[in-house]
Amino acid sequence: MNQSPQVQPPIPYGQKHPLALFVILFLLMISMVAVNICTGSVTISLSELFHLILRPDTTTESFILWKIRFPRALAAVLCGGYLAVSGLLLQVYFRNPVVGPFILGISSGATLMVSLVMLTSLTFQLRIITPFTVTLAAMAGACIVMTIVVAIASRVKNGITLLIIGLMMGYLCSAVTSVLTALAEEEQVKGFILWQLGSFSGFKWDEISLLLLVGSLLLTGVFLLAKPLNGFLLGEEYAKSMGINIRFFRMLILFLACALAGMVTAMAGPVAFIGLAIPHMARMIFSTSDNRILIPGSFFLGALVASGCDFIARSLLSPVELPLSAITAFFGAPVVICLLMKRRVKL
């Protein structure tokens, strides 16, 4: 029909070629994972790496590779990716750029439960706090908060109310946690504070497979939501007028975002910054708001950045391991500020 030379239908996916960017991101991510696997107290060369992958043996290198490095590198990839996607979901739903995955109190709930376990374990006569107990506690906390949030989401009229309720729940949980911290003994508090800063160390294969299995299910769900999510970019009123079942999708979006963030928090602690900043970086790199691009884009970018941060956390002052959240924020915040200043993009 319209064949006038001036009107060329624009590329519906923004100005850049997303496929090329995806390939670059993916390759960068793979190389970062390789770096993470090969470096550390024991350096493994690339040839050794391939050898050990193909033929695992009983050497120390093999043990380190399979029991420590691999799970840790995968954990960084998965957790980083999930947090980024969770943050993207909430930023789109709330149409608010300063929203992150923990805005609805997921991390505060998990932290509260973990503080109950870690700081009051003596009173409960639990002699040993295993990492597994902590994970269970965090998962319980995240689940409780998530249930409350989704239950409230079905009743409130608009997103802002929900956002404020989520914030308030976060404050409530933090209040209890800080009381517990004040009452706890010093040595316990240090361990607790370190947990709060997140870490990808000590991941077991069981946890990795759980992350992979549940996470991929949730991610599939998120990707199927890409179209309604694009509708939500115009706000709930317009979304409704375009035929979106607001209440249903609101609950679904919140459930998926909370589940992804809750799962990561349970296993790696509340890793700051990734979920807030990665969606912005993805938007600017792909220069689009199209969630069909941003969902996979945020995942890969989140995975890349989390891997990079984990590498820095491990190696900067090695053998001392720095807190992960400190690294993510310390290196990530300037990046976002620079991108924003340079591109002059309104988010």
Binding site: M1, N2, Q6, V7, P9, P10, P12, G14, R95, L224, A226, K227, N230, G231, L233, L234, G235, E237, Y238, K240, S241, M242, G243, I244, N245, R283, S287, T288, S289, D290, R292, V345, K346, L347
Partner: protein
């Protein structure tokens, strides 16, 4: 349906005993209107009258408190949300600026109810988007970033997005708010064309009575919890109904001129204007603005000056056309002039039906009134004792001097 107006007039939207409002608090009650397909409907009324609430109820953004709404043959509440989206599209007042969207991509979001599971655009969808952009004269904006558009351009793109839904009914909440005059008229012309060319039923809330009178097929006046009038603008938009609708005290909607006149405070002197054939209109408005009381004559009652003068609340000595001015009219004009502080001659025509007004000027000079004239006096029409001015500012300076 899309390109030709249906031959039989069918109701696109019917409200029966509808009550709209929030949580047991009715805002407008007892709404019974039937909107025909392809009509342009305007909701007029003061802020807070409930125009937005009514529109939100029609678009199912909030439930009615009572009564029923039918879209075509179907009850609104029984339509699936996805099906309703193919029938009805909205343009809201929410300020939305999604980042990193070209106008094309933004309009393409309107294809939502028509696209598949992942929202991939087919060639047909792209055509519809381009057609929608063309319909609002925004073809050239398609590559621009939505967030960088001006208010007027953005409003056009918002209308295009609604059009991309290929609706039969388009609801717009104050589509011309914040727009400059050019875009205001352009948006109204676009909407008007949608009704005429595509048979789309447009329901819009507006604040410009004068524009509404000129574009609408039907007007609903909303005030004090009810639709006080419903009908064609020619029937119901009179100076009285508009004055009541907006509680006008110092303004007046002129039915004949289709515009609002703003009355002055009349705290200065009284001025008698000799005008005719539209020469007086701008002078009346300037006098009203500066706080002078106005009387004018002698005019034929179909003169533009007569309509403007009545709109401004001036005392207008007139008589219906067809004969020369009667003695009675002349006496009234003289007594009005007697009661005035000054007289302005607005360069009226001295040869046509207003020939006799020339006598009024002579009498004014005899009465000793200050007479100001725009005429470059010469020849046989020259009257001594007239203060000649060349433009309005000179006129008002002279008026200050002679009548402080």
């Amino acid at each position: 349906m899309k390109n030709s107006r249906p031959s039989t007039q069918t109701a696109a939207l019917t409200c029966h005993n509808l009550v709209v409002g929030y949580a047991e608090k009715p805002v407008i009650s007892n709404i019974n209107i039937s909107v025909e397909t392809g009509q342009f409907i305007t909701l007029l009324g003061p802020n807070g009258a409930g125009k937005t609430t009514l529109l939100r109820t029609l678009s199912r953004h909030q439930p009615p408190l009572a009564g029923s709404i039918r879209v075509g043959e179907q009850p609104l509440e029984q339509l699936r949300q996805a099906d309703l989206a193919k029938i009805m599209a909205v343009v809201l007042t929410d300020k939305i600026t999604p980042p990193l969207f070209t106008a094309f991509q933004f309009v393409a979001l309107g294809r939502y109810p028509h696209t598949g599971f992942l929202g991939r655009l087919t060639d047909k969808d792209k055509d519809v988007v381009l057609t929608a952009l063309a319909a609002v004269h925004a073809d050239d904006l398609s590559h621009r970033d939505f967030a960088d558009l001006s208010d007027g351009e953005r409003q056009k793109v918002l209308v295009a997005r609604a059009l991309a839904q290929e609706p039969q009914i388009l609801l717009l909440d104050e589509p011309t708010a914040h727009l400059d005059l050019k875009h205001r008229l352009e948006v109204m012309a676009i909407l008007r064309n949608l009704c005429r060319d595509k048979g789309i039923t447009v329901i819009a809330s507006l604040h410009d009575v004068d524009i509404a009178a000129k574009v609408s097929d039907r007007v609903a006046l909303v005030k004090d919890g009810a639709i006080t009038s419903w009908g064609s603008p020619e029937q119901i938009l009179t100076s009285e109904t508009v004055a009541v609708l907006y509680d006008f005290r110092t303004a007046c909607f002129s039915h004949h001129l289709g515009s609002i006149e703003i009355r002055g405070e009349q705290y200065r002197g009284r001025v008698f204007v000799v005008a005719g054939m539209g020469k007086g209109a701008s002078i009346y408005r300037m006098l009203a603005k500066r706080g002078y009381g106005i009387s004018t004559g002698m005019l034929l009652s179909n003169d533009l000056d007569c309509y403007v003068a009545s709109g401004l609340g001036a005392k207008c000595v007139s008589q219906s056309p067809g004969s020369t001015f009667t003695e009675e009219t002349r006496t009234m004009a003289l007594s009005e002039m007697e009661a005035s502080d000054m007289v302005i001659e607005a360069n009226h025509h001295t040869n046509g039906p207003y020939q006799e007004n020339q006598d009024l000027i002579r009498r004014a000079v005899q009465m000793g009134k200050p007479v100001f004239s725009f005429r470059t006096a010469s020849g046989r029409n020259k009257i001594n004792g007239i203060i000649t001015v060349t433009d309005n500012s000179e006129l008002f300076t002279a008026m200050e001097v002679h009548c402080p």
